[in-house]
């Protein structure tokens, strides 16, 4: 009976911890809602469903500080008239705004690759989507663990 009571107390404690965690979510950095994220991607793709492949998105699996995270993208493309990447956009599903940056390439770019450093407010998924001149759309995505969010940076 004593044992059962102890278990009961433990259960209550676990419940209180869960409730506290739930409260903490309320003060987490604002996250763009899923609809805003999907709408931003739709605006970029023109509604074309992105295919997997051709795009390689590189960023760390885990970072301590989200205020400056190196990210690079490379797209398989000849970058000539018949096979040209026009634009590549990066989106982040856990930032206050879904858009991050959009790179516009030309035949003079030689290759469709670029890099920058970005802010990540919390652990989330980063998506890179390339729009080709022929209308096709390809994408890659990576999950990244963020210890300290970069919103206030």
């Amino acid at each position: 009976m004593i044992q059962a009571t102890r278990r009961h107390v433990l259960t209550l404690t676990a419940g209180a911890v869960a409730a506290f965690a739930g409260g903490a979510i309320g003060i987490a950095p604002a996250r763009a809602d899923e609809e805003a994220f999907q709408a931003a991607i739709r605006d970029f793709t023109g509604g074309v469903e992105p295919q997997a492949g051709r795009v390689t998105l590189t960023l760390p699996d885990a970072v301590e500080n989200g205020s400056s995270v190196p990210v690079s993208v490379a797209v398989e493309s000849a970058m000539s008239d018949g096979d040209l990447v026009e634009e590549l956009a990066i989106f982040a599903d856990g930032n206050p705004l879904p858009g991050v940056a959009a790179f516009a390439f030309t035949a003079r770019s030689g290759v469709a690759s670029a890099g920058t450093r970005i802010r990540l407010a919390q652990s989330q998924t980063v998506v890179a989507i390339a729009r080709f001149a022929d209308g096709s759309v390809f994408m890659d995505s990576r999950a990244v663990e963020v210890t300290v969010g970069g919103c206030a940076a």
Binding site: A92, L97, A101, A102, F105, R108, A114
Partner: protein
């Protein structure tokens, strides 16, 4: 606030080479998400666009959102077939345009 651009372009290249260009500008990139001590939202002020041309022809450009880190850094590539000058421009939310240029000798 002074915004000092820095670019890295090889001094020379062979015709047809694809070179890497790096561009950095000092800028706080105030995201518009932060609040001051009194709880008021600090207005957004970022570099919102970057462009690179070679001898007047577009090479690469970038639309930049507040999610790009302070002191925005960009790396990208260019195929060169003749000597000339790269021009770089950064556009600030306040309308300021910061510029830089680098010449390259192509043989």
């Amino acid at each position: 606030m002074s915004s000092r651009p820095r670019v890295s372009v090889p001094a020379t290249a062979a015709s047809g080479d694809i070179i890497e260009i790096k561009a950095l500008i000092s800028h706080t990139m105030e995201s518009g998400q932060r609040r001051d001590a009194s709880g008021n939202r600090i207005p957004r002020k970022i570099i919102n666009a970057f462009a690179c041309t070679f001898n007047g022809e577009p090479v690469f450009s970038c639309a930049i959102e507040p999610a790009v880190a302070a002191n925005p850094f960009l790396s990208f590539s260019a195929r060169v077939t003749e000597s000339g000058t790269f021009r770089f421009t950064w556009t600030d939310d306040d309308g300021s345009v910061y510029e830089a240029e680098e010449a390259i000798e192509v043989s």
